[in-house]
Symmetry: C2
Subunit: 204 residues, 2 copies
Amino acid sequence: MAAADASRDRVFAAAATAFAAHGFAGTSVDRIAHAARLNKAMIYYHFRNKAELYREILRDMFGAVGARAGAVAASNRPPADKVREFIDTFATEAEARPHFPPIWFREVAEGGPHLDDATLGDMTGVLKSLASIIEEGVRAGAFCPISPLLVHAGIVGPVLLFFASAGIRRRVERSGVRGAATLTRGEVVAHVQRVTLGLLEGRT
Amino acid sequence: MAAADASRDRVFAAAATAFAAHGFAGTSVDRIAHAARLNKAMIYYHFRNKAELYREILRDMFGAVGARAGAVAASNRPPADKVREFIDTFATEAEARPHFPPIWFREVAEGGPHLDDATLGDMTGVLKSLASIIEEGVRAGAFCPISPLLVHAGIVGPVLLFFASAGIRRRVERSGVRGAATLTRGEVVAHVQRVTLGLLEGRT
DNA sequence: GTCTATAAATAGATAGAC
DNA sequence: GTCTATCTATTTATAGAC
């Protein structure tokens, strides 16, 4: 945290950005070092190797999202508010860590070979938190019983796709689709909240 | 197509599987050759280089989906049926080409650096076809006007996530989430159809 | 903590025999 | 069409000076 760790933080940030843009295999240690304005040897001074650096980024990412989702589920509010908050929180975390949506997509595509059990537990915790919110709503008579996996996919899929696709959407806009690049975070969150609650409250 | 092309097809299939599992950078030409039961030099006999092989897989994938989405939009049926068919067709293509959801995710995560303009056009065509279906429904008084980008994300996000996450869902199931691995294609398609039509027909 | 230099392995791509 | 052998560049990782 002190000045002693400044270079370690630069490595961490540069690596997160590079891994998001080019993937684990597509990112060389040299590239990370250069982006962090450091020499390659410094990477190995701070981290055991490239894989360990990558895993630390995954832990930070899934740990934060898992914890915040758990806090929402444990809070003291009506189920419908918790669902709204779950979606908004998820979007907030995705926005605060721009590397998070691309890396989540890549890990899913790959089957998660870099995910250790604890980190997979954080990922699973997001799903379990959502499941507990739904269960609570069903017990309270506010929600219909719907598979948490489907609800989860209906939230996580669109939100991650929105944040991860900013680059492609700019190209799509240029090729003639009006509004592709100007879609905002607020519109997406409001839309997903509306669709999810409509579903859970049986208005569909 | 004849026996002369058998080895080319094996390269194509092996490459699609490997690129889906490990990404472009994470897949070596040697690995593809081995999976195709051929020598590395044969890859270069059939394809100019690794990037050109990858691009051909992208073209095949997005070309097929783009064409089928266009056919659904152009068909002669009520808008609500077209929406159902659009979703089912998208899932069918994703299932027929198991490499397609992971590769789509990776391309989105990367910003599509491997996508040439024609292929990006096919990807955009999927969105445009959906937009034309929605517009038709609005004109007919059957649909509310909703941003095609949001509807698109609500379909493509969950469906791709479902197919791409089979590996992770098996691990999640083992770590205690019942039903994570046994969710079926039919359940997902029916769910997305229901949510999407509920939204478009204003029952939400 | 930070660097240069380098080892050792692996990658993409080609030449040329059969 | 298919192979072996090889060239060249790049990559991860380490040794050791400052």
